[in-house]
């Protein structure tokens, strides 16, 4: 019984993290039909930027909660710089090409960002653990959890609910939905697609950078932190159905709980249980669990 509770709690924590990581990716795909392979690199930049900001702005006597504020500032500044630059500077020249071509373009961007990261931050690891000190540990039954982990759940809920409200209840969200259904007709109706694309891409970048910033206290930040992540978040959004925010939430929960079950029951398969879940889901439902509708074109 205790093991089941432990699996569920670990799973939900991991799922929250996965959701924040993956939702930006699915958002960008849903609106712009771009699978952004550079997502993992942006995540890493978010983590690095946090490390730099915390290193600059936080003396030894500063209160630890300040590092939480710095995380958000780091993510926002990464998004404000990289998002518009990549979308206006690079991606828009490739609009209208095949989805696969855009995937390869973002693959090139991944190479460029990786290289820039190595130049700016070098290859030695950074550690920013201050944020862990903000929260006490939490005891559930006989299990003890780091309080910071529950912040992840809160952030994931906030992001999910925020996106839902934005898409379903605000006029700007409705414009976005119109663009998702048909960019061409929306543009004919006077919606400024360029602006929406830039905004969406920047929002996606922000979410990736935020995920990186949130993760920064838990890992040693070094080259390669984003490499595995991109594949895991693909698995999540493909399970849920590409382009669906709700699918990403369900995918994150499925993957999170499967992984934590693997960690508790059969640790040796932990590494690839995520991919096995993905393959299994795609075998049954080739377009994921909540696929957007498509027309078969001749």
């Amino acid at each position: 019984m205790e093991q089941v509770i432990a699996i569920l709690i670990d799973g939900v924590i991991y799922a929250s993290w996965l959701f924040v990581v993956a939702v930006g990716l699915t958002l960008i795909f849903g609106v712009m039909r771009i699978v952004n392979i550079a997502h993992g690199a942006i995540y890493a930049i978010g983590a690095y930027a946090t490390a730099t900001l915390v290193g600059l702005g936080l003396g030894d006597d500063a209160p630890p909660w300040l590092s939480l504020v710095l995380m958000v500032i780091a993510a926002a500044s990464v998004a404000a710089i990289i998002g518009p630059f990549l979308e206006r500077g690079v991606l828009r020249w490739f609009y209208g090409r095949d989805e696969m071509v855009l995937l390869l373009v973002t693959y090139a961007i991944l190479y460029i960002l990786d290289s820039l990261m190595l130049t700016v931050w070098g290859s030695s690891p950074y550690y920013v653990t201050a944020a862990y000190g903000v929260f006490d540990s939490v005891n559930i039954g006989s299990l003890s959890y780091v309080g910071y982990d529950f912040l992840l759940i809160a952030v994931a809920l906030a992001v999910g609910v925020g996106l839902h409200v934005y898409l379903a209840y605000t006029s700007r969200g409705k414009l976005l939905t119109a663009v998702i259904h048909s960019a061409e007709i929306s543009s004919a109706m006077g919606i400024r697609i360029n602006r929406i694309y830039m905004g969406t891409f920047t929002l996606g970048v922000f979410l990736a950078a935020l995920a990186g910033a949130l993760t920064s206290p838990m890992i040693s930040i070094q080259p390669g932190v984003g490499t595995n992540l991109i594949i895991i978040s693909f698995a999540v959004i493909i399970i849920g159905g590409l382009g669906s925010v709700y699918g990403a939430a369900v995918g994150a929960l499925i993957v999170g709980i499967c992984r934590s079950a693997a960690v508790h029951i059969a640790p040796e398969i932990e590494l690839f249980v995520i991919y096995m879940v993905m393959v299994a889901v795609l075998l049954v439902r080739p377009e994921g669990l909540f696929p957007p509708m498509r027309v078969r074109q001749i």
């Binding site: 095949d98 290289s115 594949i231 493909i238 690839f272 080739p286």
Partner: protein
């Protein structure tokens, strides 16, 4: 037609022999690696012609490499030809088993599912103690039908092996691309549903393309394993597949010659750039890739100079 092909074949073979004897060892090594990688890319290009980009070729590549490493355990001698044959067969068989599952998918799903399957393989390798786990295993220096090269002949014979494989695969694939099968793959890539309505056996064609790619990747992996003398699970990691995709994008899928040129170019870039700017070579690679996608989306092979070498133009491009 036939005579021209034989002449080209002879010219290429002469070039390889001259290079093998004339060039110093430090140049033969990257050349051999480039040729071996070109085999993998040649297979990937065959898949790309059907419209899908596989992000999981590292699976068959690494499987071939591990198979080559097993040869010395199985047969008590590290024969290069046995290693290549076993490597190719391993890639082929794994691709033949996985193909029915994978070729049902298109576009991004195909890319991501091939990737996921290769990552399952990567996880398997990390846990497979009998294959050395995360340390990988060493591949003993190969012998050639009993002949054990010494000194500079070690590199030289590796180069000749790779060159022979490249010549065979290159001309074989050239013929294949021109055959009705090769044209059918292009037709599927352009409009699958029309081919289906015309009665083309789409499933079979895609299966064959995928299996050929798996076999070539296995051969390439075995060759690289013999050259490096070591194989590790990282060879199955998705970034390795990504490097093959990069090379395939640089080459494009219209020309066999372009594949070899692209592979040589990538190896040269890798060699010089890692030396001179270790941090920045990926930046250069990314920029080159962007430029190629923007200027020549069909790769080097779409440039006029290459077209002369290869297929006739197939009507107006879409």
């Amino acid at each position: 037609m036939m005579r021209a092909t034989i002449l080209k074949w002879l010219a290429a073979a002469m070039l390889a022999i001259v290079a093998g004897f004339g060039l110093p060892g430090w140049m033969l090594l990257p050349l051999s690696l480039a040729l071996a990688n070109a085999l993998v890319v040649l297979g990937l290009v065959t898949i790309i012609r059907t419209g899908g980009v596989s992000f999981g070729q590292a699976l068959y590549f690494a499987a071939g490499a591990y198979a080559a490493g097993q040869v010395s355990r199985l047969f008590n001698s590290a024969d290069a030809f046995a290693a290549i044959a076993l490597g190719g067969a391993t890639g082929l068989v794994i691709a033949a088993i996985l193909a029915p599952l994978l070729i049902r998918f298109r576009g991004i799903f195909f890319a991501m599912l091939t990737l996921a399957v290769s990552m399952v393989g990567y996880g398997f390798l990390l846990n497979a103690g009998w294959l050395g786990g995360s340390d990988g295993m060493s591949v003993p220096a190969p012998t050639y039908l009993g002949y054990a090269p010494q000194g500079v002949w070690v590199t030289r014979s590796q180069f000749f092996l790779c060159a022979a494989l490249a010549l065979a695969a290159g001309f074989g694939m050239m013929a294949l691309f021109r055959s009705s099968f090769g044209l059918a793959t292009l037709a599927i890539g352009q409009n699958e549903i029309r081919v289906e309505y015309l009665g083309g056996p789409i499933g079979t064609i895609m299966w064959i393309a995928f299996v050929i790619a798996g076999g070539l990747a296995g051969v390439g992996g075995a060759a690289v394993a013999l050259i490096i003398g070591h194989v590790e699970p990282e060879w199955m990691f998705w970034t390795r597949s990504g490097e093959f995709v990069l090379t395939a994008i640089v080459s494009g899928s219209t020309s066999v010659v372009a594949v070899f040129v692209a592979a040589l170019f990538m190896e040269a870039l890798h060699m010089f750039a890692t030396d001179m700017f270790p941090n920045m070579w990926r930046l250069a690679l990314g920029l080159i890739l962007l430029l190629i996608i923007f200027v020549a989306p069909d790769g080097l092979g779409s440039i006029r100079a290459f077209r002369r070498f290869t297929t006739k133009r197939l009507g107006p491009s879409p």
